[in-house]
């Protein structure tokens, strides 16, 4: 606040766009349909009746395997469309910022150590090294779930007598990756519990994160966002960041466009 008074920033916003609308839609479509897939998949096991889940309000349907199969299919439609769209859309636009880079594994270990008070975090690009690794891990899990799930769906409708070995592989891989999906989901949730990551939570709901957080933790991203000629950004005042939501106006370009190629970095 004191700094802002002594040296006013020309329309320097307090928030910066981290995710565009299309990315938010992708994320939430995958997240919500993924959870629906998880629970309807659980209900394909003979457990809802056994464990009285059917007695819970609104879950009377959970004991009906065909209803839960329809829920599973409906969620799978959203999930698959969102995942394929994500790969094609960002792939064709060469937006590869979430893909792992050389040294990510080693750097991830260092970053995780800092969560426990050992050492200091290095300056980050838009995504943390462990985020990039987790992204690939989740992508592999999801890819297996989709392929095996489609295979099982094909069998259900068109080929009930297909080769047993293939069916067993598809079924058990689907079950295995179902467990891994759940573990990955838990890890994803655990990551946002960590204090340093919490400012990012806002981003996945609103698309924007606090500029002071971004400048402090993701200076490489902000540098890319504002162009190489841009001066090092000064920390934004904490107080101003609390309520005001200004459109980002970094460097030479408008915020939306400036944020457009950021995943390259």
């Amino acid at each position: 606040m004191r700094r802002a008074m002594s040296k006013p920033q020309p329309m320097k916003s307090v928030l910066v766009v981290r995710h565009h609308l299309i990315e938010l839609i992708e994320h939430w479509a995958i997240a919500i349909s993924g959870l629906a897939l998880f629970f309807s998949g659980m209900f394909e096991l003979p457990m809802a009746n056994r464990y009285y889940v059917t007695s819970l309000p609104g879950l009377g349907w959970s004991g009906d395997f065909l209803v839960s199969l329809n829920v599973h299919y409906a969620a799978a439609v959203v999930f698959i469309i969102a995942c394929v769209f994500h790969v094609v859309y960002h792939g064709l636009k060469h937006e590869t910022g979430m893909l792992p880079r050389k040294g990510d594994l080693k750097q991830s270990v260092e970053v995780i150590k800092t969560f426990f008070g050992k050492g200091e975090e290095p300056p980050f690009a838009k995504y943390l090294p462990e985020q990039r690794l987790a992204y690939v891990g989740m992508a592999v899990v999801i890819a297996f779930l989709i392929f095996t799930g489609l295979f099982k769906t094909w069998k259900n409708i068109l080929a009930p007598d297909m080769n047993l070995t293939l069916v067993l592989w598809a079924t058990w891989l689907h079950n295995l990756f179902f467990i891994m999906f759940f573990l990955a989901f838990l890890a994803h949730m655990a990551a946002i519990i960590l204090k340093p990551n919490r400012p990012m939570v806002r981003g996945i709901f609103t698309g924007r994160v606090r500029r002071d957080y971004a400048e402090h933790r993701h200076p490489l991203w902000i540098r890319d966002l504002e162009g190489p000629q841009a001066p090092r950004p000064e920390p934004a005042p904490q107080a101003a960041a609390q309520d005001s939501v200004q459109e980002d106006e970094p460097g030479k370009t408008a915020p939306q466009e400036a944020a457009e190629p950021d995943v390259k970095g």
Binding site: L66, Y73, A76, V77, L92, T153, N156, D161, L164, E260
Partner: protein
């Protein structure tokens, strides 16, 4: 004796015998010789079955028991009590039960005394798994322990089954029967997950692989049960139904099955007359419930294509917008 007989019949001699038996109304499972290939079907002619009067249990039931009981695993003692529903199904001490389906009794004969067109009929109806064309019990088994084989037999693998009884819930006739205290679940989470192994007729799959007929078919003294290539069995069933001005059950039930009953009495009438309940299925018409999920399943199969098209369209538009913006910026700078 039984083993001797098994070893004594070669595939060639079996086929020879089969060819000779066609004239007597017995069509042989040529297609089932190697468990693969074309599927087989069975025909149960209720005008021929008399329930084996004078026998303690019908011949088919006795043969089935003799074929399968020796291979039944013994349940652990005590059987773990499942949590939270403490339901244990233990038939090991009631192996002799023969008037309903149990893990130890995979075929039984229902009796129906009915009046039809002014005549009194006593109909005996051997009941077992129908071996459906697209069986939900198999396709929706969460561990693929139950599977429809290429020869048409729907077979539960007791080494993979957890005994959750989902197959029984999904089966319109509730055919599979559970034996608690046996199987894989004992080695995983015996009180929390699973409850035994489901058992049902497997069309004597092991015998089919060896070129033999199912035990019940072979044992029937009146050739009331036949097995053979599906198309031939279906033709035979139509022929018999025409001849006796009778009725067929199993052709359309649950979307089609591999078991056709032919009867001189309508099956709705028989359904009213037979004793029904747990392990005693009825004979009412049955629609395939999984039809209700096929539409969304088909949409699921199309989803990757939809995602691909949407991704292509979205990225092309976005790239075009970016280029237009860059051109505009360049023009502005100039």
């Amino acid at each position: 004796m039984h083993e001797k007989r098994k070893q004594g019949i070669s595939r060639r001699s079996f086929l020879k015998a089969a060819a000779g038996a066609v004239g007597a109304g017995t069509i042989l499972p040529q297609a089932a010789q190697a468990s693969g290939g074309d599927s087989v079907a069975t025909l149960i002619d209720l005008s021929r079955c008399d329930g084996c009067p004078g026998r303690y249990v019908p011949a088919c039931v006795e043969a089935c028991k003799a074929e399968h009981i020796p291979g039944m695993p013994a349940p652990v003692d005590p059987i773990p009590v499942p949590f939270p529903r403490a339901v244990i199904e233990d038939w090991s001490k009631k192996q002799e039960v023969s008037d309903r389906l149990t893990p130890y009794n995979r075929i039984f004969v229902q009796q129906a005394i009915v009046e039809f067109q002014g005549y009194k009929h006593t109909i005996s109806i051997p009941r077992r798994c129908m071996h459906c064309d697209n069986p939900a019990c198999a396709t929706l088994c969460p561990f693929s322990a139950n599977h429809k084989q290429a020869n048409g037999a729907v077979v539960i693998d007791p080494d993979l089954c957890f005994g959750g009884a989902k197959c029984r819930t999904l089966c319109p006739w509730e055919i599979p029967q559970r034996q608690s205290g046996v199987g894989l679940y004992l080695h995983v989470l015996p009180t929390l997950m699973g409850n035994g192994v489901m058992f049902k007729c497997d069309l004597c799959s092991a015998r089919l692989k060896e070129g033999q007929k199912p035990a019940c078919v072979e044992a029937c003294p009146r050739q009331a049960m036949l097995i053979g290539p599906r198309e031939e069995i279906f033709l035979d069933a139509e022929h018999r139904a025409r001849q006796m001005q009778g009725f067929i059950y199993g052709k359309a039930e649950n979307g089609g099955t591999g078991t056709l009953y032919v009867s001189p009495v309508p099956f709705e009438v028989l359904d009213q007359a037979v004793k029904k309940g747990k392990g005693r299925p009825g004979l009412a018409p049955v629609k395939r419930k999984m039809d209700a999920t096929d539409t969304l399943g088909a949409v699921t199969l199309a989803a990757p294509a939809v995602g691909l098209v949407a991704g292509l369209a979205g990225s092309i538009k976005s790239l075009a917008d970016r280029r237009a913006k860059e051109s505009k910026d360049e023009a502005r700078h100039e």
